[in-house]
């Protein structure tokens, strides 16, 4: 379905308005909806809903962009990623983020959108090798810390000192690894 304003792009925003019984509805693309919003021609923002243009198209899996139907306050729209400069407005327009750091920058804004598209926001799959090494180190540190706490509570101070040194060594190794990477 084409946008009824520009008649060029696919309509992804479906707007229904009911003001004192006067009903208006539009099928719009993201661009035209944004323009009308700027001009104040779309009033009843709560009834603006995104829809799937073609959820079955794997090659054009940008349908995610259409989840961003609801308009956001302008201070959020103008918020930009410090790494790549991409604004939230750009992201809502085409459903694509600018760089990996955008996920951190817009974490709060994206949470519900990602949940709606994926059903969950918690990764369960494979982990990159470098991250696995970090995880292992973290687990080891936690294990030693628990042993250290136990040793202290049992007043086994010699053992506690040994464990403390081991933890320090772990942290020092990690730091030198990081330096090596850079």
């Amino acid at each position: 379905m084409l946008c009824e304003k520009c008649k060029k792009r696919t309509a992804t925003v479906f707007y229904n308005e009911n003001i004192n019984g006067k009903v208006r509805s539009f099928s719009l693309c993201g661009d035209c909806a944004a323009k009308m919003r700027e001009k104040g021609e779309l009033q009843d923002v709560t009834s603006m809903v995104g829809s799937f243009a073609d959820p079955f198209s794997e090659l054009q899996d940008h349908f995610f962009g259409s989840f961003f139907g609801l308009p956001s306050p302008s201070y959020i729209e103008e918020k930009a990623c410090p790494t790549c400069g991409t604004t939230y407005r750009e992201i809502t327009k085409n459903g694509l983020l600018g760089c990996p750091d955008c996920y951190k920058t817009f974490e709060a804004e994206l949470e519900s959108t990602i949940g709606a598209a994926q059903g969950t926001t918690r990764h369960q799959g494979a982990v990159p090798a470098r991250h696995r090494a970090k995880q292992k180190l973290e687990e080891k540190r936690k294990e030693l810390k628990a042993k250290l706490d136990a040793a202290i509570s049992k007043e086994e101070y010699e053992e506690a000192a040994r464990l403390r040194d081991e933890i320090r060594k772990l942290s020092a190794n990690e730091k030198s690894d990081e330096k090596g990477e850079n």
């Binding site: 079955f56 794997e58 940008h62 694509l96 990996p100 994926q118 926001t121 918690r122 990764h123």
Partner: protein, 342 residues
């Protein structure tokens, strides 16, 4: 032998299996924000690992549109990738069905395509290539969201697994809409290979996972494979149930299609797909005996517009010339190949 020249498990119903992993290098913006220099740098870096591992590099900026499209027709790249104007390259290892697109929507799309139902093996191959790259580069990743991708629809595993199925009986029975709506409830999508939606001309459909986040790769693959096996079962049951008058009519249609396919002087692309589908169905029912799945598989790719054009000494200028060339290639493969064997 490439994926379309051979058959795998369940050849009556499954054409191919594909698994692709989306990855991005940390420290770079995503593809649409990459400068040409950065894109070339990524291509160089990827090449430095993949080329020594036996991959062939094809720099897409330097090839003709028709050659680029022929890679789409062989399912090694996406149409979007073929049409990109900024630097992008393909790394190909055809024997293993491995294709790595560099600077597609994501920096890396690592995919493996194999004949028949072989999701597990396709995943293993793609994963092996991914790990080779993982040893050398830092992928954009967060503990919470998994692999970070340009579009959030690929977050998490970054994995899209799909199986191309041949479902003539379910199509004829009008069950495809029902199947699509059932599959969508468990996070899977169905797409016709030719034409949109349920009216796929060649009765070929791609079923894939929609969700990429929140499940392990293995869970996603099992869920897809389970659904595929159930679909195959239903298709086979439908095929067996065809009998009596309906079977006579179907047999007549299939044999007529075989005749046209072998002896036509001109074949349009859409007519070829229809005849292909009938004859492929005929092989599975034991009605067509002197044509193999392998021959048909090769023809499906060789008769596509770009691949067809490339195969000719003088590229055909008109649609009629193309249709004649298509008919000639089909006739040669289906009549001469067999004579050669005898």
């Amino acid at each position: 032998m490439t994926w379309y020249q051979t058959v795998g498990q369940h050849p009556d119903t499954v054409i191919s299996s594909r698994v692709r992993l989306a990855r991005n290098l940390s420290g770079y913006p995503f593809s649409s924000k990459l400068g040409a220099a950065e894109a070339n740098e990524i291509i160089e870096k990827i090449g430095s690992v993949l080329e020594p591992a036996g991959f062939r590099k094809i720099h897409f900026s330097g090839i003709s549109p028709v050659l680029a499209t022929s890679y789409v027709e062989r399912h090694y790249v996406s149409p979007d990738f073929a049409n990109k104007t900024s630097p992008h390259a393909l790394f190909l290892e055809e024997q293993e069905g491995l294709a790595v697109m560099a600077c597609e929507e994501d920096h890396l799309r690592i995919q493996c395509i194999l004949p028949g139902l072989s999701l597990e093996e396709a995943f293993k191959n793609a994963r092996r290539t991914e790990q080779l790259l993982d040893e050398n580069f830092d992928f954009a990743y967060s503990e919470k969201l998994g692999y970070l991708t340009h579009c959030p629809t690929n977050l998490g595993t970054g994995m899209r697994a799909s199986v191309m199925l041949f479902l003539p009986a379910l199509t004829m029975g009008g069950y495809m809409d029902a199947l699509a709506s059932r599959l969508s409830k468990i996070g899977l999508t169905v797409r016709g290979l030719f034409g949109e939606g349920s009216g796929s001309a060649g009765c070929m459909y791609q079923i894939s996972n929609q969700v990429t986040l929140g499940f392990s790769e293995e869970e996603l693959l099992h869920r897809l494979e389970d659904a595929i096996k159930q679909t195959i079962e239903k298709e086979e049951k439908m095929r067996k149930s065809i009998s009596g008058d309906a079977l006579d009519r179907l047999t007549d249609r299939i044999l007529r299609s075989e005749g046209i396919l072998k002896y036509a002087h001109m074949l349009s692309s859409s007519e070829f797909v229809k005849l292909f589908s009938d004859v492929r169905f005929g092989i599975s029912l034991g009605i067509v005996n002197d044509i193999t799945y392998e021959q048909l598989g090769e023809l499906l790719v060789e008769t596509m517009p770009a691949t067809l054009t490339l195969s000719a000494e003088h590229s055909p200028k008109t649609a009629a010339a193309r249709d004649m060339l298509r008919a000639k290639i089909v006739k040669e493969k289906l009549t001469h190949d067999n004579r050669g064997k005898e």
